[in-house]
C-alpha cells in the first residue's frame, strides 16, 4: 500500500519515541568512543521535530514534512548528527517532491537520497564506523526488495533489518570519520552510536508502514 503524509507523520512520531526510549543507551555508546552527547542531541532534535511537524497544516505533503524534519534537525541537534541527518532528510524531501503517495520505487528513492545526503555531507565510506554503515546496507536491501516485487512495508522492513545488522557490524571496526577516529584501535569493540540511531529511525519507518 502506497505511503502518504500520514505515514511520514507517524514515522516522525515513532522515531521521536524510539530516540527518547534509547536516549541513555545512545549516550552510553557515544561516551565510549565519542563525547557522550549523541542521545541528548538526537532527543533534543526529535522532540523539536515532533513539535514542528504537529504545527504543519493538515495538507502538508510528504516532501513538506520531510523538509521540516530536515531544517529542525539542522537547527537543534548541535552535533555532527545534525547536519548529517538534516542533509539526509533534506535530500529525501527533494527526492519525493510533488508526490502525495510513495510507492515502492518512491520509498527506495527516498532512502537512496537520504543515504547520498549523508555521504555527501560526511564523506564516509562503508567500513568507516559511522551511520553510513547502517544506511548503505539498508538502501541495498530496499533496492533488492523492490526488484523482487516486495510491498512498501516489506521494503522498509528489509531496510530496517539490514540497518540493524550493519550497525552491529561496526563493533570490530576502527573509525575513520568523526570523533571516534581519534581513538584508533581503542574504538574496536564498541558500536557506532550514529549507526544505532539510524537503525532506530528505519525500524520506526517500517513499523508505522501500513
Amino acid at each position: 500500500m502506497a505511503l502518504n503524509s500520514q505515514w511520514v507523520r507517524e514515522w516522525v512520531a515513532r522515531s521521536a519515541q524510539y530516540i527518547a526510549d534509547n536516549r541513555t543507551e545512545l549516550i552510553r555508546l557515544d561516551r565510549e568512543i565519542g563525547d557522550g552527547d549523541h542521545g541528548e542531541n538526537m532527543d533534543r532534535g526529535f522532540k523539536a521535530v515532533s513539535a514542528k511537524v504537529t504545527e504543519l497544516p493538515a495538507d502538508a505533503s510528504p516532501s513538506d514534512i520531510l523538509k521540516t524534519v530536515a531544517t529542525t534537525l539542522i537547527s537543534t541537534v548541535g552535533g555532527a548528527s545534525g547536519p548529517l541527518y538534516g542533509t539526509a532528510f533534506l535530500k529525501a524531501s527533494q527526492a519525493v517532491k510533488d508526490e502525495d503517495e510513495l510507492d515502492g520505487a518512491g520509498i527506495v528513492a527516498l532512502l537512496q537520497a537520504a543515504r547520498d545526503g549523508i555521504v555527501a555531507r560526511g564523506k564516509a565510506e562503508v567500513g568507516d564506523k559511522t551511520m553510513v554503515d547502517a544506511w548503505t546496507p539498508a538502501v541495498r536491501a530496499a533496492e533488492d526488495a523492490l526488484a523482487e516485487g516486495a510491498t512498501e512495508q516489506q521494503i522498509l522492513s528489509a531496510a530496517a533489518d539490514a540497518a540493524k545488522v550493519g550497525s552491529e557490524k561496526t563493533d570490530p571496526l576502527i573509525a575513520r570519520k568523526g570523533r571516534a577516529s581519534y581513538l584508533g584501535e581503542r574504538a574496536i569493540g564498541h558500536r557506532d552510536p550514529g549507526s544505532v540511531s539510524s537503525a532506530l529511525l528505519l525500524k520506526a519507518a517500517a513499523e508505522v508502514s501500513p
Binding site: G86, G122, G178, R179
Partner: protein, 126 residues
Amino acid sequence: MTVGLVVVSHSAKIAEGVVDLAAQMAADVRIVAAGGTDDGGIGTSFEKVQQGLSQAESGDGVLVLCDLGSAVMTAETAVEFVDDPAAAVIADAPLVEGAIAAAVSAQGGADLDTVRAAAEQASAPA
C-alpha cells in the same frame, strides 16, 4: 571593505577568544564568533553560523574557520543555505592559527582566495 571571517567552534569561549586575538592584528576586518550551541553548551549552532556568515559579509566574501569535523559539517550546511554560496568558503586550516593568519591577510586587503591560502598555510604556532 575586506574579506570577513567566521570562527566556528564547539566552544563559545574558544570562538570569542579567537576573535579577540585575531582582531588585535586586524582592526578593520569583520571577525564573528560562532561558538557553542544555542543554549551555550559544547557543540555547534547552525543559527550562530548562519548569522555569522551574514554579519561577516561586507561584499568581499567570507572565510570560515572550524575546530572539529562536525563544525565543518555545520558550516558546510550553513554555506549551502547562503544566497551566494561561492562568497563563503571553509578553510582547511587549524582554527586559531588559521584565523590569525587569515585576519592579517584580510587586513592587508587580500581577496578571498589569498586569505584562504594564508589560513591553510598556517600550521603550528608561528
